[in-house]
């Protein structure tokens, strides 16, 4: 239902319906901002990411179709790409590791959607905490810093051909840790 609504709102945005854009904005502001912040580690830059994402939406520069899967996944991906892009332009390396620090903040989520997010976060962090340090690091470099294949290979001193396998392995471990928690995963 919710995803249907998102897609319907997106259609209205394409027809230049300002109210629809505002509704989508309200719905995703906090998640996208927090996700951007997780990547760029700077309030001003995170705002810049949000600005770009919604401009792309409004101007139709980024096209969503239902074949692309869930709207939420699509807009999260677009946000991640935008954030990575801005990060690269700033060429500032946020000094951050994927670790328990994520769990230290108190969660101020208030909207009901954020309850789900919070629960998901708890399960996820538990799953992350079981990963080996190297696996945390590789996920951080690949997913949250958006480093290139080549850069990752240099950072962890592995041949180019091995990097992809390591990333997949780390992600699969994470997914199976999640499955053990009876959490989000559909994988055994």
């Amino acid at each position: 239902m919710r995803e249907l609504n998102d897609a319907a709102l997106y259609e209205r945005v394409q027809a230049k319906d300002k109210e629809a854009l505002e509704l989508l904005y309200d719905r995703y502001e906090k998640l996208l901002y927090s996700f951007s912040y997780r990547i760029v580690k700077d309030k001003g830059l995170s705002e810049e990411v949000i600005q770009e994402v919604f401009i792309k939406l409004w101007k139709g520069r980024a096209k969503y179709t239902e074949e692309k899967g869930k709207f939420s996944s699509w807009i999260l991906t677009m946000t991640r790409h935008t954030a990575i892009d801005i990060l690269r332009k700033q060429s500032r390396e946020p000094d951050f590791e994927l670790d328990e620090r994520d769990a230290l903040h108190s969660d101020e989520a208030s909207v009901e959607d954020q309850v789900e997010w919070k629960e998901r976060g708890i399960v996820l962090r538990a799953a992350v905490s079981k990963l080996k340090e190297e696996q945390k690091r590789i996920i951080e470099m690949f997913y949250f810093k958006g480093m290139t294949h080549k850069k990752i290979s240099q950072e962890i001193d592995l041949p180019l051909g091995t990097v992809k396998g390591r990333i997949r392995l780390a992600l699969k471990h994470l997914k199976s840790n999640l499955a053990e928690k009876g959490g989000v995963s559909d994988e055994k």
Partner: protein
């Protein structure tokens, strides 16, 4: 040529150039391995965004973001139309600049240092009385923006890029400026990406108003991305030393 399958990770991260991206997408059509791996990556990472700790967006962000979007929209779709309206060349009110602003609003790629000192404030609107008459003979207005004050300041201003006989001038006007001491000046900067270029300086009068018209005479083509005003210790600064008083993307 590089094996396309090796570009999967960079494609997933969106770090390929436009051309590489197109080529890779063509490759995807014919490579079922890559399609499967891409799908797998998407599935495996679909939960990761929720690992982000909820952060409170800065106050006023929604208003700024939506205003920037709708503003850029209402100013027309065709960029060329906004340039060189001879009928409108006699611009006496800075307010009118707003409606002539370039529609191509892009999130300002300010230098990181400048950006950090930027305000989380909404745009300010300059009053009519702040208008200058310097622009009356302008033959075409290329771009005009309101300057947003940085946090902790109440100054406001406007900047316009105007073209006259093949020369481009940057006209800046500001109100409610704090007075200067010793050799201090307000220095205007044009930013191209992260690189600042000097673009005139001025000292405000007792009424806190100041203005400067600067002929941009830097060699080569420049794509100005932002304009900012800083308070500098003297008129000699080659790069910004003082804090940003107000700024705007271009």
């Amino acid at each position: 040529m590089k094996n396309n399958c090796d570009q999967l990770l960079d494609y997933f991260n969106g770090t390929l150039s436009d051309e590489e991206k197109k080529l890779f997408e063509a490759h995807l059509e014919s490579c079922s391995d890559c399609r499967e791996e891409l799908q797998e990556l998407e599935d495996l990472t679909s939960d990761l965004p929720y690992l982000s700790t909820p952060e409170e967006p800065p106050s006023g962000m929604k208003e700024r973001v939506l205003q920037n979007i709708f503003e850029s929209e209402s100013e027309g779709e065709s960029e060329s139309e906004t340039v060189a309206h001879h009928d409108d060349s006699k611009i006496t009110e800075m307010n009118r600049f707003r409606t002539k602003r370039s529609p191509k609003w892009i999130a300002p790629a300010l230098a990181a240092a400048l950006f950090l000192s930027l305000a989380g404030n909404a745009y300010t609107y300059i009053s009519n009385e702040g208008a200058t008459t310097e622009t009356e003979e302008v033959s075409s207005l290329l771009k005009a923006v309101q300057l947003a004050p940085s946090e902790g300041t109440t100054s406001k201003g406007a900047a316009a890029l105007v073209s006259d006989n093949g020369k481009t001038n940057l006209v800046v006007q500001a109100d409610d400026l704090e007075g200067v001491q010793d050799d201090q000046v307000y220095q205007v900067w044009l930013l191209e990406g992260e690189k600042p270029y000097r673009a005139g300086s001025f000292v405000p009068g007792e009424n806190g108003k100041g203005a400067v018209s600067y002929e941009i005479n830097y060699e080569g083509d420049h794509d100005w991305t932002a304009v900012a005003i800083t308070l500098e210790p003297n008129a000699e600064s080659k790069t910004p030393k003082g804090k940003v008083v107000m700024s705007s993307g271009l």
